[in-house]
Amino acid sequence: MAEPVTGLPSQVYTRSLACVHCGLCLSACPTYRVTGRETSSPRGRIYLMRGVAEGRIELGELLAEEAYLCLGCRACETACPSGVEFGAMLEETRAAVDEAGLRGGLQPRLERMILRQVVPHRRRLRLLIGLLALAQRTRIDRVASLLLPRSLRALLPEIPARADRRQPPERIPAEGEQRGRVAFLTGCVMPEIFGSVNAATLRVLSRNGFEVVVPRDQTCCGALQAHAGDLDFARGLARRNAAVFEAAGVDAIVVNSAGCGAAMRSAEHWIPGEGASYAGKVRDVCELLDEVGLRPLTHSIQGRLCYDDPCHLIHGQGVSAAPRRLLEQIDGIELVPHADASSCCGAAGTYNLTHREMSQQVLERKMDALAAADPDLIATGNPGCLMQLRAGVRLRGMRARVVHPVELLDQAYQNPHG
C-alpha cells in the first residue's frame, strides 16, 4: 500500500497509524491541561503529524509551534493503550521542522551552537561554568540577575565549589563481595552542577558491591540536542558513546540523570541495529539497586518525603516503583504521596528557558500538589527537575530540601553530617 509522506520522515507516519484517536492521553498532557486546546494535546499533535504525512495539510507554522510547545515529557506514552511512540515522533518532527527552516530567529541557531559546540565538550563547558562560579563568588551575578525576571532568577543554580566539580576516578572498586561491573555516565551538566550527586552515586554503587568504571572518552548522551531538533548530531554522539561503553565490557551502564538514561535507551531507534546492545544495557541507578536489592542502610533520616517522578524516568523508561521502594527502606523517612507526582514539572531540558510562561504554569500545578503534601524533603532523579523544583520551592518559600534519591541513600549509608 502506498504510504504518502510529505515533509515528515516516513517513520512518523508509520508510528501515527497506531493512534486510534481515543483521547486517553489528553488529561495526561501538561500543555493540554493548561491550554485546553486539542492542538496542544498529544492526540492533536499526532493528528497534525499524520495530516502532514498524508498531505492533507502542509508542514507549517502550527506544527512547528506545537512541536516545541510540547514538553516532551512522554506522559502520553504512559497513558496510551495503543503504544504510540510519541517521544520518537516528536524528535523526528522537530528535526523536520528545523530542517524546513520553520524555526526562525536567532534563538534556535544560538541554542544549536551551544548544544553542539559547548555542552559535549567538557573543557568548554567547564570554562563556562567556571565563569558563572566566579560571577557568583564575586556577586557580579546579583547585579546581572536583577535584569532577569524573578522566575528565571530562581532557576539559576548555585555553582558548587571547584572541589565538587572534580572529575571522578576512572575506576572505583566494589566494597565487599562484588555483585557486578558497571560503567557510569557522568553526564555533561551533572559533574559541573551536581558533582556531589555523582560522587554519592559512585559511593552507593561501590557500597552495594559494584565495581564502577568511568570511561574517559565518553561524551554527552545527546538528549538535549535531540529534543532541540538536532537529531543528526545526537545520533553522532550516541554512536560514539555506544562504541566507548561497548568497549568497557560491563554488565550495565548506570545513569543517574533520567533525561540521559531515556536518551541512551532511545539509541535503539536513533541508530537502529548498532544501538540495540548499548541501549539494552542502560540502567537508572535506582532501577539497578532495586533489582539487586539494597545492602542494609546504617543511618536514619527523619522527615516527610515526596518523591517526584522525572518524566524521562517514569514515562521515558517506565521506572517509578523502584526509587520509592529504595527510599522507603530509609529508617525515619515517611514517604508521602502527592497528587501530581507523575506529571511534568516544566523543566523539560531547556524548556524552562525557551517557553518560560508555559513552564511556569506547568510548575504551578506541581507546586500546588507539593505544597499540599507539605514535605521536608523532595526527591527526584534528574538535574533539570532538581533545578526546576528548587526554583519552585524557592519561589513559594517552602522549607523542603530538593535532593536526588541517591543522595539520601548515600547519607543513610554514611551520614556525612554525623
Binding site: 481515543c22 485546553g36 492542538t39 493503550p81
Partner: protein, 478 residues
C-alpha cells in the same frame, strides 16, 4: 462590520479563539475519525456569559455551533458541520461546589470525569458513571451523551446522577433546569437534555449526585474457554437475584491486545474470554455473594476463577478493561466501535451470531462489553486505506446492528447516534417516533443551529443496498 472571528475574539479573547487552517484541521473530528469536517472557528470560553455571547454572535452571523468536551465521543457528536463554530468547553473546568452533606456537587462542564471522583474522595464519595474514557472525558460531554460505563449495571447511567443543569439555549438565553433536591416541578427537562447529544443547547453547569464509596468491593475474574459460555454465566448471575456492580466480558482478541499494552493485567492470553464480575456494598454480605458468583462461573465452564487480592490488583483489572478500546490500535490503524444493546437473556445467541457475521465478512472483530447490561461493543479493526476491507467492515457492522434489533435490541447504549448512526436509527424507530423527537428539538432549538446534523437521518434508509450510506459518500435526502 467585523467578521465572525473578530466578534468571537472580542468575546473570549484572541488567544481563546482558534481560526488558523491547521488549528481547524485538528478539530475536524472527535473520537470518531470517519467523516471529518473542518469548523470555521473554535472558541474556548471560560464562563456561562461567554458561552451565551458566543451563541448570540453565531446567530447574528447565521453560523451553527457545536458544543465539545474532550472530544472522546465515538459517534461524532462533536463533529462540526461546514462553517460551524466549535464551542470547546475544556477551559470551563472548575468544580464550583461540593456539598458533601447533601451528596451533591456543582461543576462546570469541562471538569474531567475522573477528576471529580478524585476531588470528592476525601468525603467518602465518588461520581458513579465511569465511562472507559473517564480519565479524559468531561462531565459536559457525559451529559450530552448520557454516558454509561461498566458500573451502570448497578449505579445507572449519567441521567440517573444529574439533578440540575444550567443551559445556554440556542437563542442565547440562559436557563436553569431541574433542582438539586431531585424533585423539580414540571416536565423532566433535565431528563430530556441528558443524552440529547448537544442538540438542545450548551450545558454550562451541572449539578450531580455523589455516591458513597461502597464499604467493600470484590472483583472476580472468570477464565472461559469461549465467549458464549461467559455470556451464559452472566445470564445466570442476573437471574440469581444478585445485583453486581459490573459484569464485563473481554474476548480473546481483546485480551491479547490489552496484554500487549501498558495496561497489561496478566490475563491469560490463551483464554477464550474473561468475565470480570464485581460485587460491592456492605462488606458482611460480600463473602456469600462472591461464593454464589464463583459457583455459577465454575458451573458454566470457567477453567479458573481469580479474586482480586487487593485494591492494586483490582485497579489493574479495570485499567485493562478501560484501556481495551485504545489497545485495539495495536491490531490495525482504524477501529469501528459498535455499541448495540440486546435483552440480556439472548446474549449467548447474539454473540454467536456476531462472531459468525464477522467471520463471514472476513473482518477482524473483537468483543469487549458490558455483558450485565446486554451492551455489546463489537469492535472491527481495519485499515481505511484498503477500500475492499472498508466495504466489508461496513457490511458486517450493518448486519450486526440488524441482528441486534431483530432480537429486541437497539443500536446504541451509551455512545449516542451522532453522525455515525443517524442513518441507522430507522432500524429502531419509524418516522412517527422520530417526529416526536423532532418536536422536542424544535421546542429547544427551533432553527436547528445548535449541533446540526446529529441523531436524525439525512439520507433515505438504504444501508443494505448502498454501503455508501455509511457516510463516505452521502446521498442527500431528496
Amino acid at each position: 462590520m467585523p467578521s465572525l472571528v473578530e466578534r468571537l475574539r472580542s468575546i473570549v479573547g484572541d488567544e481563546a479563539c482558534l481560526a488558523r487552517a491547521e488549528e481547524l484541521f485538528v478539530y475536524e473530528c472527535d473520537g470518531l475519525t470517519l467523516d471529518p469536517v473542518r469548523p470555521s472557528a473554535v472558541v474556548l470560553p471560560r464562563d456561562t456569559e461567554q458561552v451565551a455571547s458566543v451563541v448570540r454572535a453565531c446567530r447574528e452571523f447565521g453560523q451553527p455551533f457545536v458544543p465539545r468536551g474532550a472530544g472522546t465521543g465515538l459517534s461524532g457528536g462533536a463533529h462540526p458541520t461546514p462553517g460551524a463554530v466549535i464551542v470547546e468547553c475544556s477551559r470551563m473546568d472548575r468544580i464550583l461546589e461540593v456539598d458533601a452533606g447533601n451528596r451533591i456537587a456543582r461543576v462546570q462542564p469541562g471538569v474531567v470525569n475522573a477528576d471529580l471522583s478524585v476531588a470528592v474522595a476525601t468525603h467518602g464519595l465518588f461520581y458513579a458513571p465511569d465511562p472507559s474514557s473517564q480519565m479524559a472525558c468531561t462531565i459536559g460531554g457525559n451529559v450530552a451523551e448520557n454516558a454509561g460505563g461498566p458500573h451502570t449495571l448497578k449505579y445507572g447511567t449519567t441521567t440517573n446522577h444529574v439533578l440540575a443543569l444550567e443551559l445556554v439555549l440556542p437563542d442565547g438565553a440562559v436557563s436553569r433546569l431541574g433542582s438539586a433536591t431531585g424533585f423539580a416541578p414540571g416536565y423532566d427537562l433535565v431528563g430530556a437534555v441528558v443524552g440529547s447529544e448537544g442538540t438542545l443547547g450548551i450545558v454550562t453547569e451541572v449539578t450531580v449526585r455523589l455516591t458513597p464509596i461502597p464499604e467493600g468491593v470484590e472483583t472476580l475474574l472468570g477464565i472461559f474457554p469461549d465467549v458464549v459460555s461467559a455470556c451464559r454465566a452472566v445470564g445466570r448471575v442476573i437471574r440469581s437475584g444478585l445485583v453486581p456492580a459490573a459484569l464485563e466480558i473481554l474476548d480473546q482478541r481483546t485480551i491479547r491486545a490489552v496484554e500487549d499494552s501498558v495496561y497489561a493485567a496478566g490475563l491469560p492470553r490463551d483464554a477464550g474470554a474473561v468475565l470480570v464480575a464485581e460485587l460491592d456494598g456492605a462488606a458482611c454480605a460480600l463473602p456469600a455473594q462472591v461464593e454464589k458468583v464463583r459457583a455459577i462461573i465454575g458451573e458454566e465452564g470457567a477453567s479458573e476463577v481469580r479474586v482480586a487480592r487487593d485494591e492494586q490488583e483490582r485497579a489493574l483489572f479495570w485499567k485493562a478493561r478501560k484501556g481495551a478500546f485504545g489497545a485495539m490500535g495495536r491490531l490495525a490503524p482504524d477501529l469501528y466501535v459498535h455499541d448495540a444493546v440486546v435483552p440480556r437473556a439472548v446474549l449467548p445467541e447474539i454473540l454467536a451470531t456476531v462472531c459468525e457475521i464477522g467471520d463471514r465478512h472476513g473482518v477482524t472483530l473483537s468483543n469487549v462489553f458490558h455483558a450485565g447490561d446486554g451492551n455489546l461493543h463489537p469492535n472491527i479493526s481495519f485499515d481505511r486505506r484498503d477500500p475492499d476491507e472498508l466495504r466489508r467492515v461496513i457490511a458486517a457492522g450493518t448486519e450486526i446492528l440488524e441482528a441486534c434489533v431483530r432480537v429486541g435490541g437497539v443500536i446504541t447504549g451509551e455512545h449516542g447516534i451522532g453522525t455515525e448512526k443517524r442513518d441507522f436509527i430507522g432500524l429502531v424507530f419509524n418516522e412517527a417516533d422520530l417526529d416526536a423527537m423532532k418536536r422536542v428539538r424544535d421546542a429547544f432549538n427551533p432553527d436547528g443551529v445548535c449541533n446540526p446534523g446529529k441523531i436524525f437521518p439525512t439520507t433515505r434508509f438504504c444501508v443494505e443496498s448502498n454501503p455508501k450510506a455509511r457516510g463516505y459518500d452521502r446521498v442527500p435526502l431528496a
